[in-house]
């Protein structure tokens, strides 16, 4: 004969266990939709094993990306300088921080970041990994100028965030690491691979004569010779994500990559940006010195400046460049604009 209290104890155990189980929420893996060309041509994107993408993590990251609580005075979010409608730039030469101070670098566009295989981010490559990168602007005094402890406190005291963090990471106690993990997850979903040129490569459309000639100029070592640093039909990132001195100056105010490595041979080198979405990302170069694509093309054609670290891929530097014909310049611009991805800037998943 089993005593009645045994039944009671067993019932208690069962209900206790089941209620504890309900508290453990398993986030849903996020299905990263990789464009066909990327899947065909490139190695797999970089997704850290300790920060796999989940539906809840991406959603939380998006909310944080647009949340002004991340700035010192609640006036700026990441999106203030990285506007989705502008391919996540702000179309300013330099961006004003919360106290109205300006930096010395142009806000970089954000897309296809998971395919930055060396994981060096920012114009000078100073940040290793997207999670690490997201830490810096929040506390930078001329950017969002916040104290991370206070940011975490604001998020912790909010009515929404603790439960969102719990669902995304299994922890309702928020810290800076989890915040940047979530933002990095969202940023890895920002994929741009649906331009006219992508469609052309997929056989879904054709190029104009100007665009086709412009592509040939881009790929011709004797003309544009852009492909050595800026990708090709076989590298749909349209960047090598490496650091080059592209002949902007004879002496350097900003040492760029050299500041990070400490090697004078890296002075004046900056990351090659992708040439996707140039229609939305003016002004150009690390310091936003060129307002138009015409100015950029003219620079490479006639305006190269010699210095000790100029990349050997820059041709005819003594003559300022290769001196493209007006038609080639015009066609090169037409080709560059064929990499405009309006689906990307209008993607509802990326809007506030």
């Amino acid at each position: 004969m089993i005593k009645p209290y045994i039944y009671f104890f067993a019932f208690f155990l069962l209900t206790y266990c089941s209620s504890k189980e309900e508290e453990i929420y398993t986030p849903i893996p996020y299905n990263l939709e990789i464009p066909a060309l990327f899947a065909d041509k490139l190695i797999a994107p970089i997704i850290p094993t300790d920060n796999l993408l989940t539906e809840e993590g991406v959603l939380l990251g998006k909310k944080l990306f647009f949340d002004k609580k991340l700035s010192g005075d609640n006036t700026q979010a990441c999106s203030s300088c990285h506007n989705p409608k502008k391919a996540f730039t702000d179309q300013q030469q330099f961006s004003a921080g919360v106290q109205g101070e300006f930096g010395a670098r142009n806000a970089m566009p954000l897309f296809n970041l998971a395919w930055n295989f060396d994981e060096r981010f920012a114009w000078d490559g100073k940040e290793f990994g997207l999670e690490q990168q997201a830490l810096e602007p929040v506390s930078n005094p001329i950017e969002m100028h916040a104290n991370w402890n206070l940011v975490v406190q604001k998020l912790q005291e909010s009515t929404e965030y603790p439960s969102l963090f719990l669902r995304a990471f299994g922890a309702s106690e928020i810290d800076a690491k989890l915040v940047t993990k979530a933002i990095a997850q969202f940023e890895r979903t920002l994929i741009s691979g649906d331009s006219k040129f992508d469609k052309y490569l997929l056989g879904e459309t054709s190029l104009t004569q100007e665009e086709q000639n412009g592509f040939n100029v881009f790929m011709d070592e004797a003309k544009g010779d852009c492909f050595h640093c800026h990708g090709s039909n076989n590298n749909p990132l349209w960047t090598d994500n490496a650091f080059h001195n592209n002949g902007l100056d004879t002496t350097f105010q900003d040492l760029g990559f050299g500041t990070v490595t400490g090697d004078p041979n890296d002075n004046g080198k900056f990351k090659s940006p992708s040439i996707r979405n140039l229609a939305f990302t003016a002004p150009y170069m690390h310091d936003g010195r060129f307002a138009t694509l015409e100015e950029v093309i003219n620079h490479y054609s006639e305006g190269l400046q010699k210095s000790s670290t100029i990349d050997p891929l820059m041709k005819k530097v003594n003559e300022g460049g290769v001196h493209l014909s007006p038609k080639d310049k015009n066609d090169l611009k037409a080709f560059l604009l064929s990499l405009t991805d309006r689906e990307f800037i209008n993607n509802p998943n990326f809007q506030e």
């Binding site: 590298n235 670290t309 530097v317």
Partner: protein
Amino acid sequence: MKKKYCLLILTLLLVTGCNEELDCCVQPEQFTVTLNFTHHWNGLKITPQDFNELKFTNENGERLSIERLRYLVSNISLINSKNYHLIDVGENYGTSITFPELTDKSYALSFRFGFSDEDNTDGTYQDLNSISFNVPEILGGGYHFMQFDGKYVDNNNEASGFNYHTIKAVDRTDPDNLKFEDTSFEVNLGTIVVADNTEIEIKMNLAEWFKNPNTWNLNELNTVLMPNFEAQKMMRANGGSVFSLGVVN
């Protein structure tokens, strides 16, 4: 009595069966062999720390520096299957290639510099696409065999860039009828006897790219060499004496 015979037969069967099993499961001896690609300038060792300095002088008397050096080797003969390897000297990447689980003790060691026409298929290799090692379609597509970039002191005593890029040669004299020549080449390093953890040094003498049989004049041939059919053939010829076998231990 019958039982005894049965037991004897069963025991025999088991014993012989076990013997057979032992024979079938004896693994052949396996070796791990590592190829180490090293680089020198007429005997002077080159490491990434030697990059960016105008410290080398070629056969033509031009001082030069190395800023980027990455190249492709394929079909290393230690394994039977197709294989390729990118070596990026500046990034210290791929200079050491390990082959585990080799079973032969002796190999005719060879590899191909670059890709043969058969393997040089446009856009096929994701890892090479990802580092932009491609050749434009207007030059026949496929991949670079080598990107050797640097600066040289030109006739005006100024440092100028050079791009010693080797690819499958293309003659574009008639744009409607491109002619190609396979400028990849096989490097034979002789027979090597290996044991476990054998390390084999394969040396590249960069000076030879500018020397033998064609004395290279960087003032004339410096950039835009990819579409230069004759230059590609000259580079191929000079490549013949670039590699040699180093220390085997």
